[in-house]
């Protein structure tokens, strides 16, 4: 992968992130009911969006790996799972920090929170499998299946506010059908934050993907070196 492309994307991410921070702390008006702490929302929701996108990518990569058997799909799935896990952790932590002053509790077994925690545990299991087992095609196939099955939790999280009674605010999918953000500046800030986090996700994904491709090449070269040494010994 082209290192210049990764560096350029890093720069774009930085610019977008500075713009998002400016909008969150200077531009957007303070929400009337929750006050200043509602500003967590502008980074909490984009974290959730990129975590879901990452896990969808794990499932897509898993399907392609099972179909084509090419190592590149396994590397992409692994990179997406790890990056998604970072953002899923941030969703849970920032949500918990936001919940404390608003709900009076760090955690509640609400349907959306619980299904998100299940997603975090599922991909935690996926990453533990990858970290503890050898890099064999059998483990890669098993991980692909786990990645595909775990991604089924993503649509459940999204529609959980419609399916069950919940205290979690439904900003993007409300029961009434409106988006829940009345001030256009709030919508603009959320969109810029979404763009910043999407760029950040792609940048981190590319960085991780490059390390995994390098590791794959290392494994190939180590095998090649062993074979060549054996050939030298035979002469």
């Amino acid at each position: 992968m082209n290192r210049n492309a990764i560096d350029s994307l890093g720069l774009v991410t930085l610019v977008l992130m500075v713009a998002a921070l400016f909008m969150v702390f200077v531009y957007v008006p303070t929400e009337a009911v929750q006050g200043i702490v509602q500003r967590i929302f502008y980074f909490h929701v984009p974290c959730a969006w990129v975590a879901f996108a990452a896990f969808a990518l794990v499932a897509i990569s898993g399907i392609f790996y099972l179909w084509l058997g090419q190592q590149v799909w396994d590397d992409l799935g692994y990179a997406a799972a790890e990056t998604g896990m970072i953002f899923c952790t941030l969703v849970l932590v920032t949500g918990s920090i936001w919940a404390r002053p608003i709900w009076g509790a760090w955690w509640t077994w609400d349907s959306r929170l619980t299904t998100t925690l299940i997603l975090w545990l599922l991909y935690g299991g996926y990453l533990m499998l990858r970290a503890m087992a050898d890099d064999t095609p059998q483990i890669a196939r098993f991980a692909a299946v786990v990645g595909i099955v775990a991604a089924a939790d993503v649509p459940i999280i999204i529609i959980s506010v419609r399916l069950w009674r919940t205290i979690h605010p439904a900003v993007l999918v409300t029961r009434q059908g409106s988006h829940g953000l009345e001030d256009p500046r709030m919508v603009a800030t959320l969109l810029v934050s979404m763009a910043a986090f999407t760029a950040l996700f792609v940048w981190l994904l590319m960085l991780r993907f490059v390390t995994l491709r390098t590791r794959t090449r290392l494994n190939f070269l180590a095998g090649e070196l062993g074979r060549t040494r054996a050939a030298v010994g035979d002469l």
Binding site: G35, R208, R215, L218, L225, V232
Partner: protein
Amino acid sequence: MENLSYLFAAYTVIFAVIFFYVLFLWRRQARLDEELRSLESGLRMVREELAERGATRSQASR
């Protein structure tokens, strides 16, 4: 400015986690690049040796 500490905590956690993850990736990539360079040079040397021995054997057989 009620609950400012919660807002500060949330944004600090986000940037701290991202910073340490990027740092971890850069260090890992640097280590892998170094390993790759050493493996590639080792492979080149072994291949040269293999070619040399092959040439010596073909000269001897003539």
